[in-house]
């Protein structure tokens, strides 16, 4: 059985400054989170592909991805088994959504991260471009 360890880290930082009459005012905005995953029964899959305006369906039980032992990764148990996903697309603006209502957009390789919500076993992700064109995408799914 494979052993999965990893992390999903998000680091948002902005500095907003104004200089008036020789006085600089500075506001910093930060939002950070680094969640480590060390569960012995963790599962992770990465799926790449291309899409147009028609949905590309990404199955999760089983997925098409093989783990380090060569076994197909299968998110096959109860509600909440898929915890989070990360999505990146290049080309046209693309949407990744699941049947639990999570909807993440990406373009320009800018990565989106989302909690998978209360996704049920056997449910799928759907990926498509928003209005036109095609996109290449990468989807990382983490669950237990």
């Amino acid at each position: 059985m494979s052993n999965v360890r990893g992390r999903i880290a998000v680091d948002v930082q902005f500095a907003d400054s104004t200089t008036s009459a020789g006085v600089q005012s500075l506001k910093t905005i930060t939002m950070q989170d680094a969640t480590e995953y060390t569960s012995a029964d963790g599962k992770v899959a990465i799926i790449t592909g291309t899409c147009g305006t028609a949905n590309v369906t990404i199955a999760t039980s089983p997925s098409v991805f093989r783990d380090s032992s060569g076994a197909i990764v299968d998110f096959d148990t109860d509600e909440g088994i898929i915890r989070r996903f990360a999505f990146s697309a290049t080309g046209s603006l693309a949407l990744c959504e699941n049947q639990a209502g999570a909807r993440t957009f990406s373009t320009g390789g800018r990565v989106g991260v989302n909690d998978a919500g209360d996704m049920q076993a056997g449910e799928v992700f759907a990926i498509r471009t928003y209005s036109s064109g095609t996109a290449s995408f990468i989807l990382v799914i983490y669950g237990t």
Binding site: V4, A15, I29, D33, I46, D115, Y130
Partner: protein, 141 residues
């Protein structure tokens, strides 16, 4: 006013198997760091229950470094975090019909999405059960 900032995302997993003394390792990574040197940024925090809390965007309740209230004509990227064990949703609606983003958070785990919101849009926060504190960062123009 000058804005400089970044959204950095770093996803890394190592998947290893040992069979008969042989270790097989797969490394999965997805990373992105986007720098921004113009635009508007606002941070809004609050609490919510299961009822929808509409987050004002034009104007917001947030003041920039010059003391002026931030008002968005469009929002192009959002980051959202909610505390507690229960799922909390944040969505943008009205700007692009049925295709708006919905990002979920719980336990302080940050969710990020591009946003298409440009016309008469609203941003909403609501929980599935109980109450939660939330923080929303909106970047746009």
């Amino acid at each position: 006013m000058s804005i400089r900032g970044r959204f950095g995302i770093d996803v890394q997993f190592t998947d290893s198997t040992i069979v008969s003394g042989v270790q097989s390792v797969k490394t999965l990574a997805l990373q992105g760091a986007s720098e921004y040197d113009f635009g508007k940024i606002a941070l809004v925090s609050g609490t919510c229950g299961t009822a929808v809390v509409t987050v004002p965007v034009s104007p917001t309740t947030y003041r920039d470094s010059g003391g002026n209230v931030i008002s968005f004509a469009s929002v192009s990227r959002v980051a959202f975090s909610a505390s507690g064990p229960n799922l909390v949703a944040c969505d943008g609606s009205g700007g692009c019909g049925i295709d708006d983003w919905t990002i979920y958070s719980r336990a302080g785990q940050v969710a990020v999405s591009e946003s298409l919101e440009t016309v008469a849009f609203s941003v909403n926060v609501y929980g599935t059960t109980g109450t939660a504190a939330y923080t929303l960062v909106m970047y746009g123009s």
